[in-house]
């Protein structure tokens, strides 16, 4: 095997902005807010940061801004350090983390900041939808009238056909995520919803209704990485990065081996667990990429926490609530906590870090959590990043 991991890496601070419609904040303001919070938390000076990686999906389409690596470095006062923007649709944040992790693990840099930012609400919803549709195959999917909810609806319909999933269970996923989100001060939506509200909401792409779909949010998140051996200089509660793995698949759904499985997730998860030397049974909570309710069910299976075709039963039985066998999306997930696309992957890491430190709001804190997993997906599954974190 290749020399993959040179040294252990820890997260020394993690921060996120509230997600939602930040009318008064632009992309730079959001990145600045998350960055300052993280730097203050670590008690370090910006001068200590040697390298910056920023996840951002479509600054160009959303706010007419590219060149986001240098831009964020400028705004955080980090010039002249090297700074890089990475893009992998909704997995941009997860990829940024993977890149930052490699930079520290390889020994190239010690202190690395990994951010994610997206400003989505400056454009009309229809324009945002158009920007997001760039994550699927343009020539053979979007060109023929496919939309993102439509792609996931095709997966959901087939899954229902093959495994007996009912729309009620999809609704239960949304209800659970809104319940968790209601206790998260940073969530986009903090309202609880009833099963009927979710079940009888207006259709977006049948069988997916309004509550099966995540919102369009503004938001940013930033974490700071350091080699484990020096992490305690900055924090009493370093969180160890046990592994971070990434995999890819076809952009277009029509070329997939099985549309009810995200093979990229399967591959990334296998690798992440293998590298971390951790069993599924040791994981106390997971943050999965629930851009649509069906995606949460598929993620539970593809990450290996349930057999194919049976993940929905865990959701149906309520095992995915905080207090259940496998708490899923304790921050409300993309559905309730929000989905600022390029920031989401980093925001998920922030949630796991806070959970492992026992720092989240009462009611949604998983007791004595030792190991958490974050799962970030781009498009309909062409990119997946799985990161396993543990208490130091």
């Amino acid at each position: 095997m290749k020399l993959y991991k040179k040294r252990d890496v820890a997260i020394i601070s993690a921060a996120a902005t509230k997600c939602g419609e930040h009318w008064d904040k632009g992309l730079k303001d959001l990145a600045w807010e998350a960055g300052v919070k993280a730097v203050e938390e670590a008690g370090i000076s910006g001068k200590d940061i040697e390298y910056l990686v920023v996840g951002n999906m479509s600054g160009g389409m959303f706010v007419g801004q590219e060149h986001i690596g240098a831009l964020v470095a400028d705004f955080l006062g980090l010039n002249p350090i090297p700074s890089l923007r990475v893009e992998g649709a909704c997995a941009s944040g997860g990829i940024a983390f993977f890149q930052g992790y490699m930079a520290v693990a390889s020994g190239l840099y010690d202190i690395v900041a990994v951010g994610g930012v997206e400003k989505m609400t400056d454009v009309e919803q229809e324009h945002a939808t158009t920007a997001l549709s760039g994550a699927m195959d343009f020539e053979w999917e979007a060109y023929f009238g496919a939309t993102f909810p439509g792609i996931y609806a095709l997966m959901a319909r087939r899954y229902m056909h093959e495994y007996g999933l009912k729309k009620e269970t999809l609704a239960k996923v949304a209800v659970k995520n809104h319940y968790h989100g209601s206790m998260n001060f940073l969530a986009h939506f903090r309202n609880r919803i009833s099963l009927d509200e979710a079940l009888y909401a207006p259709m977006v792409a049948d069988p997916l209704g309004k509550y099966d779909c995540c919102p369009i949010s503004d938001g940013a998140a930033l974490v700071i990485l350091a080699p484990l051996e020096i992490a305690r200089k900055y924090t009493d509660t370093p969180i160890i990065v046990k592994s971070s793995a990434m995999a890819s698949d076809t952009l277009s759904l029509l070329k997939r081996r099985d549309i009810c499985t995200l093979d990229a997730t399967v591959h990334a998860a296998e690798k992440a667990f293998r590298l971390a030397h951790i069993e599924r049974s040791q994981v106390n909570l997971i943050e999965v990429h629930d851009c649509f309710t069906i995606a949460e069910i598929l993620a539970i299976e593809d990450l290996g926490f349930a057999k194919k075709g049976e993940g929905w039963k865990m959701c149906d039985e309520g095992q995915t609530y905080v207090g259940g066998n496998l708490p899923v999306n304790t921050d409300g997930g993309l559905k309730a906590s929000g989905h600022p696309v390029g920031a989401t992957g980093v925001k998920q890491i922030v949630e796991i870090v806070k959970q492992l430190r026992g720092e989240v709001e009462r009611g949604r804190q998983v007791n004595n959590a030792e190991v958490g997993l974050a799962h970030n997906v781009g498009g309909s599954g062409a990119t997946a990043v799985v990161t396993i974190l543990a208490r130091g």
């Binding site: 389409m61 229809e126 939808t129 158009t130 549709s133 760039g134 195959d137 343009f138 020539e139 053979w140 999917e141 979007a142 060109y143 023929f144 009238g145 496919a146 939309t147 909810p149 439509g150 609806a153 095709l154 997966m155 959901a156 319909r157 087939r158 056909h161 207006p202 259709m203 977006v204 792409a205 049948d206 069988p207 997916l208 277009s252 759904l253 029509l254 070329k255 549309i259």
Partner: protein, 141 residues
């Protein structure tokens, strides 16, 4: 998607008009969308263009209620993954069919329709869509 320039329509027009895909003359595998390599044969593969019959079955479907601007006037419309009789799947709208009539496994056949117009003055995009297969004319008339 933002404005699509004429060459971007034109480049794929043949394939969209006639449902052209690829066939590996080495192993017989068929592909859609058209491909440049056979993933099975790799270097030994010999890729040629092939025209699909246009017959297939609905593998999965959805009814799109919320669509990008250029498809807005067609909502609600049926979007499906169609499994062609030759094997590959295509993503396509299903027309001449009510949303409540569409089913997984339904036999469909390709037809030629307008895909979208970006505005009243721009290029019109044409291509395949699918409709419920109807062979009643072979026996009833």
């Amino acid at each position: 998607m933002s404005h699509i320039a004429p060459p971007a329509h034109w480049r794929r027009a043949k394939e969209r008009y006639r449902l052209l895909g690829s066939k590996c003359e080495n192993c017989g595998s068929t592909f859609f969308p058209p491909t440049k390599v056979c993933p099975k044969c790799r270097r030994k593969g010999k890729i040629a263009q092939t025209e699909f019959s246009g017959k297939g079955k609905i593998y999965s479907y959805t009814i799109i209620h919320s669509a990008p601007k250029m498809f807005e006037k067609y909502t609600p419309y049926i979007l499906a993954l169609v499994e062609l009789e030759e094997g590959p799947k295509v993503m396509s709208q299903i027309v001449d069919c009510k949303p409540e009539e569409v089913k997984i496994g339904m036999d469909v056949e390709a037809c030629f329709r307008k895909l979208f117009e970006q505005d009243g003055e721009g290029v019109i995009s044409y291509g395949f869509k699918f409709r419920p297969a109807d062979n009643s004319w072979k026996t009833s008339y």
